[in-house]
């Protein structure tokens, strides 16, 4: 598929259609168009309890004002006759649109296209405390903020998001979120061949990094190829597709610049497959082969020497052990060794963790993530506490797409608790979506749930790369999220 041509054509049509509007204005228009708005308004999932307003009362504190926290606040505001909601969030741009970071690296968007002011999305009537929580005391139903204020609650929603733990890689420093302070990380990341799209400033740097790689390749005369490495850590991560998306984008930009044959692209994930859904795994492997990508499974980045440009990986494998009479099979023995690789360009997907203030608190767990019943999203120990989004211990989640399904579940179940109902009415099924950018102009819309089977919303083969999903990714998902989800309507 001549993806460039199609995109150019579509953008041309948009410009024509909207009477000479710029591309960026066309996008904004779509966000505000009455068609989009009416469809979004109708898109809220209809549950039986939905129609009525609840008279239940109680003080709700939501910790974290990202997509998950603000959407939950909005939904509760709609559903409660007398809402009493406090939201605690220190970052004034906490609702910024993280899925756009790959598009910034691709040069399709700019940082300003994904930045949103939290103040514009806090629902009316919700009290916003611009501070961060430093401790949780679920026995006494209080949280404490950094200025030492104790805030009590009847019901607590934890939606703090997660931390990008660059410091867990030897040679790097810092533990950051996708927007906000990142000085420590940027000492080494965002320059001299080391990049990461996992934070907004890093995505801007990555675009420059790819341009530098192209320049280097153009000047490169030796017979040995330059090495570009893409990592994927051994922790749960937000957006499981992004480590691969940035590889596809880099490939596409290198190809357009005519230097693809001078660079070897290698994917080094700690995992042992491309995707947890077998159908999608097979499709991605085919896409990798078609693009002449290399890959090495169970290869986890543990250290980096940015002076010498050497990355160290821990490589793991299983070896056949003794015969086990009980299992009636040969046992397997876990093996590992360290492997060094030279790089000219490395894209780092950082290890990720729950913020220590949550993970090491009584509402956390040995792994940090907040332990919830994965269907109801209610805390396993404290029944007046719910968690959603990246910080919740929910398998296969950690995308905006999962949070978009979770916030309604949390709101409905929380109201049931407030109404002293015995049974929680709403259940999350693990749905999530990965719009996998496979080139600038094509996306495979990978939707799935805990059955680890494809769960396509459309009667189209989900393993195929299509420009229509590129349009969805570039033009429709952001307005859906920013104006649909953040207002608690879709």
């Amino acid at each position: 598929m001549k993806s460039d041509k199609i995109i150019e054509e579509i953008l041309f049509e948009i410009e024509k259609h909207e009477g000479g509007m710029s591309r960026r204005n066309a996008m904004k228009f779509l966000a505000a168009s009455p068609i989009a708005a009416s469809v979004l308004a109708g898109a809220a999932p209809a549950t039986e309890a939905e129609a009525s307003t609840s008279n239940a009362t109680g003080k709700i504190v939501i910790v974290g004002g990202g997509l998950a926290g603000v959407a939950t606040a909005a939904k509760l505001t709609h559903r409660l006759a007398n809402p009493n909601i406090t939201l605690i969030e220190p970052n004034p741009k906490s609702v910024s649109y993280q899925p756009g970071q790959t598009l910034i690296a691709a040069g399709v968007w700019q940082k300003s296209d994904i930045e949103y002011e939290t103040a514009n999305f806090i629902p009316k009537g919700v009290k916003w405390i611009k501070d961060s929580v430093v401790s949780f005391d679920p026995q006494n139903n209080t949280v404490t903020t950094s200025d030492d204020t104790k805030i009590s609650y009847d019901y607590l929603v934890v939606a703090t998001g997660l931390m990008l733990n660059f410091g867990a890689i030897k040679g790097l420093k810092g533990e950051i979120t996708s927007s906000g302070t990142n000085d420590l990380v940027r000492i080494k990341v965002g320059k001299e061949g080391v990049y990461s799209v996992y934070f907004a400033d890093g995505a801007v740097d990555t675009k420059k990094g790819i341009e530098e790689l192209i320049a280097k390749a153009k000047a490169h005369t030796g017979s040995e190829k330059l090495q570009a490495i893409f990592t994927d850590p051994d922790t749960a991560i937000k957006c499981g597709g992004a480590p691969k998306k940035i590889m596809y984008i880099t490939h596409d930009l290198l190809k357009k610049a005519g230097v693809r044959d001078k660079i070897e692209l290698t994917f080094c994930p700690s995992g042992d497959k491309m995707f947890g859904v077998p159908e999608y795994n097979a499709a991605i492997l085919e896409q990798f082969k078609a693009r002449d990508f290399k890959w090495e499974f169970k290869t986890n980045l543990v250290a980096i020497d940015t002076e010498k440009k050497i990355a160290t990986f821990e490589k793991k494998w299983l070896e056949k052990g003794e015969y086990d009479e009980d299992l009636k099979e040969y046992t397997m023995v876990s093996m590992s060794k360290m492997v060094e690789k030279n790089y000219d360009f490395i894209h780092i997907t950082p290890p990720q963790k729950a913020p220590d203030v949550v993970g090491k608190s009584p509402i956390g767990s040995s792994k940090g993530w907040v332990p919830v019943v994965k269907e109801t999203l209610q805390h396993v120990t404290y029944k007046n506490v719910f968690a959603l989004g990246d910080v919740a211990a929910v398998p296969m989640g950690k995308t905006g797409g999962s949070a978009r399904k979770q916030y309604t579940v949390v709101a409905e179940n929380l109201i049931a608790i407030m109404e002293k109902q015995e049974k929680l009415p709403a259940a999350y099924d693990g749905y999530t979506v990965c719009p996998l950018i496979t080139s600038i102009g094509t996306v495979a819309l990978l939707e799935f749930n805990w059955t680890a089977k494809p769960a396509p919303s459309f009667p189209l083969d989900p393993t195929q790369e299509r420009w229509i999903w590129w349009l969805l990714k570039v033009y429709a998902l952001k307005p859906m999220t920013i104006y649909g989800m953040l207002s608690g309507r879709a």
């Binding site: 779509l30 497959k273 299992l327 211990a393 398998p395």
Partner: protein, 123 residues
């Protein structure tokens, strides 16, 4: 392609999207053995008759995990990882579980977590 009405195209996409996520759940899986049978005939060999663990088999105790931790561990083992593409944190057990499933010793994750927790759990 030339005559694409872009607004209409987005409207269609959005209408279609509005219907997403309300899929009927997949049919319940039928298992050959009961959860208790699976435990007693397979798990017990390494994790012990009381879930206490067997050191020479390198099999940990299951008694001290909460039901939620057990569920997550079993999901990790059966699904081959908790993330969208991460490896299992229990790579040896993932291999063993595949072999057991081939022999019919498969189970529902939630039921097994509940069985282990209610029968042996101390937490």
């Amino acid at each position: 392609m030339k005559k694409i009405d872009v607004t209409l195209c987005f409207a269609i996409v959005l209408v279609l999207l509005s219907g997403c996520g309300d899929k009927p759940k997949s049919d319940a899986v039928k298992y050959k053995y009961s959860t208790e049978q699976v435990y007693k005939e397979t798990c017990l060999h390494c994790h012990g008759p009381k879930g206490e663990g067997v050191a020479e088999k390198k099999a940990p105790a299951l008694t001290k995990q909460s039901v939620q931790e057990l569920e997550m561990s079993l999901f990790d083992i059966k699904n081959g990882g908790l993330g969208q593409s991460t490896a299992s944190e229990h790579d040896v057990m993932e291999h063993n579980m595949k072999k057991l499933a081939e022999k019919g010793y498969d189970y529902d994750i939630k039921m097994m977590a509940n069985y282990i927790h209610t029968t042996f759990g101390t937490k």
